[in-house]
Every structure is written in C-alpha cells, then in structure tokens.
C-alpha cells in the first residue's frame, strides 16, 4: 500500500471513530428537538458535567469504574429532570429565542459550576478504555477509538430501535408529531418531555466519559458539544439516522481537513471545516440530509 493511501485510511479511521462519539452527542440534540422542539445548547456542558462527575468519583473518591459509572448515570437522570422541570417547562409556548437563550444560560451556569468545583486545569482521565493499539495491515488503530466508536454506535442503534418499537418511544414520536393530538390520545406529554431530557443527559454523560478518556478532562470538552451541532444539523435535526451519518461525515471531514489543509492554511481548519460544510449543505437542503421538511401555514 502506498504511503499516501495509508495516510488517508489512517485519517479516515480516526475520523470515523471520533465521529461515532459526535453522533452520540448529536443524538442528545435530536431526541430533545424531536420531542420538545428545543435546541439544547447546553449539551456540551451536560457532557462536561458528566465527564467531571465521573472523574471525581473514579479519580478523586476512588470508586471502582462500574459503580462510578452507575452513579454518574443516576446523576444525569436527576440533572435531566431538574433542567426540564425548572428551566424549560415555564417556557413552553415562548418564542424560539427565549428557549435557546435559556439553554445558553444553563450552559453558562453548568460550566461555572464545573469551574467552581474543579478549576480550569487539564486533568488526565483514569484509564477506563484499553490504551493499546491494534495493528490492521499497515494501519494502527487505537483500541480506545474502536471501543468508543463501538459503544457510541451501539447506543445510537439502541435508541433508534427503542424509539421505533417501545411504548415510550412511540409516545415520544407521537408527541414530536403533534402535541395536541398526543395529549388527546392520553399520552403523558410531561412525562415524555422529562424522558427526552433524561435520555439526552444520559447520552451526553456517556459521550463525555468516552471523550474524556480519549482526550483527558478539561473545560475544552464543552466546545465538543458545540461540534455536535453541525452533526445534528447536517443529518437533520429530527433524524436519529441523520445523527449517526452526520457524526461520521463531520468526524471524517475534520480529520481530513486537519490532515491536508492545516499546513497550507495555517492551522485551526478542523474547527472551521464542519461549519463551512454545514452552510453549504443547508443552502442545498435546508432541513439537513434526513430532516423532515416543515410545511408552514399561516
């Protein structure tokens, strides 16, 4: 195999792996948007909080990893319910800008809580995933990438199936489709709202743990939540499949542009490329690749 091709493949694998985690975070956006029509810009900070709580439990208190993981999940559930109950429910029926701003306010608050407790310095996350790398032909693939990709994709698939076949999933789809009709069919819309926030909190915590174990724990993790935005938008804000596909596309785009364009353009391209791509996609398909077009009536 030529060295060029090896490089491309290497970049592709890295991109797909990181894209899997993006897809998981984007899943949080999509679930909340689908059920409640809210774009949750605090997703990155929910991820940050999940990562730090698990870090605190494992590295600072010294709990075994599975126990710490379960406590983090329980914490995410409480966090999701609290956010929905305190901040989002009073805003039902308010204009989009209010709802967006309240999630931004949440983001700022959650981040300052994290900084207040843990400070801003970078911390090495304890080894949760195996660190060795596997050799596939000429390519070396880090096992933690494979693991995190596998976990992320399994979760995305799990939620996609649950959304389709379980009772709660069907209720969520009904609410997403038409709140009033769902209410009149006896669906507990409040419960559905709370559930979607809980699920979003859980997936972002898991995403946070995966990313933290790959990159370490730092405040910059929150900006990765911002990166999941183009993922959700490229795929279409209301499509779970879109989140998975968008995640991989953005991940690959990032590593490829970082690999090829960073040197000629002077760095930082990996942060910009997804957004440029995003605008181009939106100009052609305003509802993303798999999003459902909204028909507007006066």
């Amino acid at each position: 195999m030529s060295p060029d091709l090896t490089l491309v493949l290497q970049l592709l694998i890295g991109g797909v792996a990181i894209g899997g985690v993006y897809a998981l975070i984007a899943l949080g956006f999509v679930l909340i948007y689908k059920a409640t029509d809210v774009l949750n810009l605090a997703q990155g900070e929910m991820l940050l909080l999940g990562a730090y709580v698990s870090y605190g439990l494992i590295a600072q208190i010294g709990l075994p990893v599975p126990v710490a993981f379960l406590i983090t999940l329980a914490f995410s559930i409480v966090l999701g319910i609290t956010i929905e109950r305190v901040a989002l429910r009073p805003l039902i029926g308010e204009p989009a800008i209010s709802v967006i701003m309240v999630t931004i306010g949440l983001a700022i608050l959650l981040r300052s809580i994290v900084i207040g407790i843990w400070g801003t310095e970078y911390r090495v996350y304890p080894d949760v995933l195996p660190k060795e790398s596997a050799q596939i032909g000429p390519l070396s693939v880090s096992l933690e990438f494979l693991w995190s990709f596998g976990i992320a994709m399994a979760l995305v698939a799990l939620f996609a199936l649950a959304f389709r076949y379980t009772r709660v999933g069907i209720a969520m789809r009904a609410v997403a489709d038409d709140q009033q009709a769902a209410l009149s069919m006896g669906i507990n819309v409040r419960f559905v709202f709370a559930t979607s926030w809980v699920i979003a909190a859980i997936v972002s915590s898991i995403g946070g743990i995966l990313l933290a174990s790959i990159q370490g724990t730092g405040i910059l993790l929150a900006t990765l939540g911002l990166k999941a935005l183009p993922v959700a938008i490229v795929g279409g804000l209301d499509s779970i499949i879109g989140a998975a596909v968008g995640g991989v596309i953005v991940g690959v785009l990032e590593t490829l542009s970082a690999g090829y364009l960073d040197v000629p353009l002077g760095g930082g391209v990996r942060d910009v490329a997804p957004f440029v791509f995003l605008v181009l996609i939106l100009l052609v398909k305003p509802y993303g690749l798999f999003g459902k077009e909204r028909i507007e009536r006066v």
Partner: protein
C-alpha cells in the same frame, strides 16, 4: 398651559392630528423626562470621575451594539449568534484603516459600518431558506468562520496579537483620548443610534421587519418582500454593530480576536433578552445591566470578608442565572418592568 395639565400622563389615545399620533414623546411629562435624562447624562460626563466614566463608556458602546442586535433579533425575529464576529469586523476594519492606511476616524467609523453591513448581508443570505434554529446554526457558522479569519489572516488582522496602537479620534485640536472626552463621543453615538432605531420602526422598512418577525408567511402574503427585508435587517443591524465595534476599537486602542468570540455574541444576546426584545430602551437597560452586574458583584465580593470564592466564576454563574431568571420570571425584560411601574402610577390611585 397650567401646571396641572403640563404634568398629566397619557390616559388613552386622543390624538386629533397625524403629527400628534406619530410623536415619539406624546406628553409634556415624557418630554420633560427625556430632557432630564439628557441633562443628567451631560452632567455625569462633566462631573464623574475617570473610573465611572470608563464604565459609562463600556456601557455606551455595548448599548450601541445591543441596539444593532435588537434590530435583527428583537424586531425582525432573525436570531443571530454572530454578533461578536460582526463587532469584530467593524473593529478590525476601523483599526486597519486608521493604522495601516492613515484614514481619519470620522471616515473609518462609517466605513467600518458599511463593511460590516456588507459582511452581514452576505451571511444573511442563508436566511432566505433557513428559519429559526437552522438559521441560528448558520450564524454560528458565520461566527466561527469570521473568528478563524481574524486569527489566520495575519497580514490584515495581525493574527492572535491583533492590531495595537490604534489612534484616538481627533477633531481638529480636540483629541478624544481621555475617558471624559470619549464619553461625549459615546454619548453622541448612543443618541444617534437610539434616534435612528426609534424612527426606523415608524418607517415602511421597520414595519416590514416587525411583520416578518410576527409571521413571515403572512407578511409575504400581504405583499412584504420577505427576503429583501430580511437582508435589509441584517445589513442595518450589522451597520450599527460595526460602528459599535469601531467605537470599541478606538476606545480600547487595541483589537484582538478574543474580544470578539462566541462568548461576546452570547453576552450581547443576554443584553437584548434581559433588556427587552424588540424595544429600543430595553437595549440600553440590558447593556447597562450586563456591564454593571460583574462590577457590582466584584464590589460586593470585595466588601464581604471571608469570601474566598473565585470572583470570575461567580460573575459567569450570575450571568447565567440572570438570563434564566429573566426568561422565567419576566421574559419581556427590564423594559417591561419599567413600563409596568409607569402604568401603575399612571392611573394611581385607581386600579384601572
């Protein structure tokens, strides 16, 4: 006119001429109030100390920027998170023109507005097809891309160091290089922006903006050219924001990328929300609130002994809490609170 009539409040609409109907300040009391505000602002400029004036300058510059943002978000309903980048375009344009080309401030300021208006117009084009949340993300893309250019277009922007040695504005022998002198410049800019915006929304274009905000499909049905007016809104807003950026550049005498990042966009959105969406006065209240909140907090934290808290974290948390609190308790902001207070006294002692 007897004094009893001169001090009455408006208590219903009794206009007999179009001029009276269109007046910005319909009653003598309202006119007296505005005269007091102007007098107080001038007196503050003459009497206040350097520290107070520097805070006032920050508030004033933020107020101009918030007004610009409010034209877009509050009046036209197009949510933008590219405010920081647009401020930056204005600031960098003016800094570049005055330092590298030697253009005087009085030319660079409108030029900064025009360049920002052009950039804003370009990034407003996606609003043709994108609405609501998707548009938010498109403006986020604008923010990220423009920020990237600020850092990487080194020959023009000076990279991450930015541009320094920006000259203070000068008018003949008069140089605006002290906080006091600059205060009057800022005050004039705020007054211009307020007058411009207040009148904009009584014009044909302004009414079109509001129609688009309230229901864009309905607006297009009644004959409003939605796309044209959306772009116009982006350009008008960006012009004001760009001018605010230029004002900031010549006040700080330095521009660098971290002053125009996403956090700045969010700060300005916070001003507009807390002050009151779609109100001219609200932009001023919001700018003052957001600029004074951290200063007040720092003062309190210093005066309370034994607080070992990180003040910066406290400021951030307070900002987040303020946004959430206002949205939950008074979504229409300080402007609404102020109007409620006035309404209470208007009919006092009667309930209605």
């Amino acid at each position: 006119m007897s004094s009893a009539i001169a001090w009455r409040r408006e208590c219903g609409t009794f206009h007999t001429t179009y001029a009276a109907d269109m007046a910005l300040r319909p009653t003598p009391l309202a006119r007296a109030r505005i005269a007091i505000v102007i007098f107080a602002a001038l007196a503050f400029g003459a009497l206040a100390g350097r520290y107070e004036l520097s805070i006032a300058n920050q508030v004033g510059i933020a107020a101009v920027g918030a007004l610009g943002l409010n034209v877009l978000v509050g009046f036209t309903g197009q949510i933008s998170v590219a405010q920081g980048a647009f401020l930056g375009v204005g600031a960098y344009t003016s800094a570049y023109l005055t330092t590298r080309i030697g253009v005087p401030f009085w030319v660079a300021l409108p030029a900064a507005g025009l360049v920002t208006a052009a950039v804003g117009g370009i990034f407003g084009i996606p609003s043709l097809r994108l609405k609501g949340l998707y548009l938010v993300i498109a403006t986020l893309a604008a923010q990220v891309v423009i920020e990237w250019f600020m850092i990487h277009l080194v020959p023009v922007t000076g990279g991450s160091q930015g541009i320094f040695g920006i000259p203070a504005p000068a008018l003949g022998p008069l140089v605006f290089d002290t906080e006091r002198a600059y205060y009057f410049l800022t005050l004039a800019a705020v007054a211009l922006a307020v007058l411009g915006c207040a009148n904009l929304f009584r014009s044909r274009a302004g009414r079109a903006f509001i129609a688009i905000r309230d229901q864009d499909v309905a607006a297009s049905v009644v004959g409003v050219d939605v796309f044209r007016y959306k772009i116009t809104a982006f350009m008008v807003s960006s012009f004001i924001v760009g001018a605010a950026g230029a004002l900031q550049a010549h006040h700080d005498l330095i521009v660098s990328p971290e002053n125009f990042n996403l956090a700045v966009s969010i700060e300005y959105l916070g001003m507009v929300i807390i002050g009151g969406l779609g109100t001219v006065s609200g932009s001023l209240y919001g700018a003052a609130f957001i600029r004074l909140l951290p200063i007040a907090l720092a003062t309190v934290a210093r005066s309370v002994p034994g607080i070992a808290l990180n003040v910066n974290v406290l400021k951030e948390a307070a900002f987040g809490v303020a946004i959430i609190g206002f949205l939950i308790l008074e979504p229409r902001g300080i402007a609404k609170v102020w109007r409620d207070i006035k309404d209470y006294f208007r009919l006092w002692p009667f309930k209605y």
